[in-house]
Structure formats: C-alpha cells, structure tokens
Amino acid sequence: MRSWLGSAGCLALSLVTLTPAVALAGKAEVGGYLRVATRPDSQGGDGKLGYWNLHGRLLNEGPYAALEGKIDLLERRPGEIEPWASAHVKFEGGGVGNAEPSNGSLTQWRMSQLYVKSGNVGLKDFTWQVGTLDYYFGDLGLYDMRPAQIFFETVGLSGRYQTDTLDVVVGAGDSGYFMKGSEYNTVFTAGGAARVRLGRFFEIGGGGQLMREPEVGGNRYAPHYTPDVGYEDWLRGEVVEGFFSENNGTIEDFPDPVATSAGSAKAIGYLGFGGFGPVRWNNFYINYQTLHPDNFTTETWQDEEVILYVTELTDERTQLNLGNELQLKVLPQRLDAVWGVLYGDYSDGDNSIAPSNHARTFVSTVLRLQAYVTPTVHLLAETSVAREVSKNGSAYREHIDSIFENTAGKTDSEGFEYGDTDTRETFQGKAGVVLSPLGTGVYTRPSLRLLYGVQISNQNNAFGNSFVETLDQYNDFGNVERHTHHVLALETEVWF
C-alpha cells in the first residue's frame, strides 16, 4: 500500500513546491459587490416597489455594482511583525446595461475611494491611511444604511490603532471636493471614533467629526450671505423682484454678499451585543448631526442672473437617526430572522412654512424571515411598516385631485403645501425563493431570487412612475388613483 501511495504522490501534479513562500510585492486582489434585477411592473412603475429604503432595501433599490482592487506594495505575512503597505481603489455606480435608464452609462460610475494603508511603521498594531478615509462601525443590512459613519466625504490622513479589544481611529483632511464639487472651497474636517470589545458578547463605540469652512473674502465659492433675504421670499423665488419693487435702481444696487464661515458636526454611537441563545448579534447605531449649510442659489431678474448666498438661510438643519438590527437564529439551520427598526427626526430652524426633507420624522420596522428547505434552497418572507410625517404641513397626495385641497382643505395657489396630508403610511410584503450556492444565512451571497412584492400606501401612486399628474383639460392620458402596487422580481446579489 505504501509503495502505491508513493507512486501516486509522484504521479500527481506538483502544484507548488514545499519551499517557504517569500514576501510578495505586487500581489493584486479584486473584491466587489453587484446586484442586478428585472422587475416587470404592469402598473406603470419603474421597477421599484416603493420610493426608498425606509421600507427595506429589498425590491426598493436599483441595480448597483462596486469593484475594489487591492495591491500589496509590501505583503503581510503570518507570524511576522514587519511593516506592510497596500494600495486600494474602488469604483462603484448604478449604471448597468438593460437594467436602468442610463443603460449602463459610465457617467453613473465614479472612483469613490483611493487610498494607501501602511501598518507597523513606527508603531505596532497601528495603521496609517492616506487618501479617502471612509469609516463606519457597520451596516443596517435590511435598510442598506450606515448611521454611524464618519469621513465619508473626506480625503486626508488617518491613524488607526487596532487590537482584539480596542479599535481607535483618528483622522483629518478636507471634504471640500465631495461637498462642493466644481464650486470647491476647503472644508477642514477632523474627527475620530473608538470601539471597545468587552468580552465576547458586548461592544460599544462612539465618535464624531467636525467640519469647518473658513471665511475667505474674494472667493465666490466660500460661504457668504446676502443681507436682508426673507425665507419665504427665497422659497418663492421672489427676493430680487421684492427688492426692486421696494427700491429703485439697477442690478448693481442689489446688496453685495457678505463673507462668513460655515460649520457642521456629527456625533455617532454604536452598541453591539450577541453570541448567546438565539441572538446571533444585535447592532444599534445612532447619529446626531448639524448639516453643512448650502452656498448659493440663483434668481433671474430682467434677463440677468442674480446670485443669492444662503448660508444664513440653511444653517439650522439638524438630523437624528437611530437604527437597530437584531439577527436571530430561530431554528438553527432551518430558520433565521432579522428584525430592523429605523427612526429619524429632521429639523430645520430656518424653515417653519414649507414641507421639506429637512423637516420631517420617520419611523419604520422591517422583519425578514428566511427558511432553509435545503442548505441551498431557501424561502424568504419580509414585511415592513413605515410612517413618515412632515413637520411643515401637507407633503403627500392621497388622491389625484389633492392639489385642490392643499391648505386646510382649500386650494391655495400661493401655498407651499404639496398635497392633502402630512403623513405617509406604507406597508410592504415580499416573499419568494432564494437559491444560495454557498449555503444558509440571511446575508450569504451569491443569491438568486425570485420574489413577489406588494405595497399598500395612503399616498396615491407611491412609487417611481411616469404618470401625468396634471388635472387640466389638455391631459390626454387621464389620471390614475392607485394605492396598491405589485412587483415581480428576478434578481441576483453577490459580494465577491
């Protein structure tokens, strides 16, 4: 037997020699993510069940892909405490051929991350990162949201100290290009986060970031405010008209902008526990932020464009976001459950008159059950209930003729309200079959899914559509009143 085994060994292909591997430079690796779907919609929708992820990401997101490359400049090797370095680049976007309106246009893609990391340089367990600095504690998988995230907009330098029990990151840089694009002005950003693991079952973390856009006289893209602009006039687009109705003169007499500075801040928190009983893990995330003010808008007066600087009109916006996700093993290898809750409270101290995404509250809960018929064939069922309330009056249309009832039940052509109710309530239910070659798990991918979804909402046609909404006599298409929406989906999702 031994000789037979020996000859078999000699005959077999020697794939790699037994010589120890040497440290490599230039070893490359690509990871990524993709989702693509076809969702035929005979009710005139755009292939999404509802408007956004508040009802759960499933059937409410479009196609998307991300590619991240990593190249080892100096490879890490097990058992050695030596300097190492790697370069990372990430491309991502929603342009996918045949699956969305741009038909795969590369204009829908961008290089979202580019950075170099280097560890054990000067300090053990310490990693330097130069480039983009995006950092987040974790993800609410059911919603595809990251409430506890910092440096998403920032390019700069960070240092991260990481052991089994402690993870601390501190960084600083500039967020101007992400926030202002071609109207760039430096937005100094500094912050940090820390996470502590207390035993096997409990983690806690916190952090935050500060952004400061300095006053720069002479730079039209730096923060300014135009004096004596009323909020209501600005919303109506009547600031310049109002000025010249009260003041004679030419466009040169319109008040000059006054330079100022702008700032914003974000605090984040995290609590994680699990690993006992049926609780696989629970992630709780929170953030509170003051949003960065806008810079300027324009109005036209006598065929001339007038720039209004609005820092003072947009500097009192705040957000509170809380999210929790509980992952449960209900029946091991038979049934898993994930339960999510999301709450948001957005306020705008400058605006008390018009409905806006900056002045609302929302709350939602999503429950997903995944049963394993076999390790690779699963049944999925998900349900969500959500309530969104506008703080500044009616923002949603319950009926095709809601435009006639937008203020206190009466038509108001000068009003800011949009519909006939300040509350949108939505229920969604989804169910179907999932094929999962890599086995069980709610977040195991790849998955190939055949799903059916239904949405019931008090808002009329509460999904992306191309319906003609006008009620005038020249509308040849008529109006549609619909509160129940159905979608069939054939889709796949992969992390690789």
């Binding site: 990593k70 990430k90 239910g429």
Partner: protein
C-alpha cells in the same frame, strides 16, 4: 400573496427534489490520514488549531473518500514556522500512511458595500509518510464576507469552510488518483 407563496413552495419542492448528490470517489481500502490544521495570525506569532467547523468538515470530506482521519494537535507548532518542518512533525506524531497539512490565515481586505471582506489564505499539503519530498501542495485564497465587526479571523475561516472542504477533497483525489 398566498398564491405566490404556494407557487414558490411548489417550485422549491421541485428544485430540492431534483438535486442529486454527486458520487464521491473512494479509496479501494481504508487509508488512515493524519490531519494537521493550523491557523496563523498576521502581526502575531500565535499558532492555533483551526475552528472545529473546519476540521470536522475536512474530516467528513476524508471519511467520505474512505480515508479515516486522525486529527493531530497542531496548536503547539509555533516553533515550526515552515511547511516542511510541520509536515515532518505531523509524520512523527502519527502512524498514518497519508499526511494532510492545512496552513491557514485570514486577512482583512476592507469594508465593502456594508460587509467586512476577509481573504482566507490556505496552503494544503498532501504527502505519504514515507516520501515527504513527493508532497503535493495547493495554495488558494477564499474571499469571505462577514456581516458583523465582532466576527474576525476564526469566523472568516468558518465562512470559508465549504470552499476549503471542496478544494481539499479534490486535492486528495488528485494525489491518490481516485
């Protein structure tokens, strides 16, 4: 909704009913295998035994091929830092005719679209105890995604288990000409 659930349930039954397990080739006679499986860490000299889920999956893969496995405690191999020494120690620790050495480590790649991507690197070596020089080695990497931060190297290896099990089964079949 009810109709959809009924339809999907029928489809599921059909799909699961159609699946047939592939025939796994077996050795003509039971051939004992000594298995040494270690897990190493980056930036640390620690060497540990691989998670139970991985060692038992590899054991199942060998058993299914009529190769009864014996797991050798490899956690004390910190001093043996290369495959040759480890294979030698594995041979000395067992009377088995066939040796299987698994050397593994996991490296964090990045947070990618909401999940923590890790790369599990595996170096699998098969040899006969009488001819260590004739060993066959296969090196491969398995990308895995973990949803929670508290899941680290050990969980990464557990997540890579199905792929490692399949690769090791194939390597042993190749080595024995099954």
């Amino acid at each position: 909704m009810l109709i959809s659930l009924m339809l999907t349930s029928m489809l599921t039954s059909t799909l699961s009913g159609c699946l047939k397990q592939a025939q796994i080739p077996q050795a003509a006679a039971p051939t004992p295998v000594a298995v040494g499986a270690v897990m190493e860490y980056l930036d640390a000299e620690t060497v540990e035994a691989v998670p139970d889920a991985l060692s038992s999956a590899v054991g199942d893969a060998l058993t299914a091929r009529n190769l009864p496995p014996t797991l050798v405690d490899a956690a004390s191999w910190s001093d043996a830092r290369n495959s040759q020494l480890r294979l030698q120690q594995l041979g000395e620790a067992s009377d088995a005719e066939l040796l299987l050495l698994l050397e593994t480590h996991a490296e964090f790649f990045s947070q990618l679209s909401g999940q923590f991507r890790w790369t599990v690197s595996v170096r699998a070596t098969v040899a006969t105890s009488v001819d260590l020089e004739g060993a066959v080695v296969e090196e491969f990497e398995v990308p895995v995604f973990l949803f929670n931060y508290n899941e680290r190297e050990r969980e990464a290896l557990e997540a890579a288990t199905p792929t490692i099990e399949r690769k090791v089964g194939g390597l042993v079949e190749q080595f024995l000409g099954l």
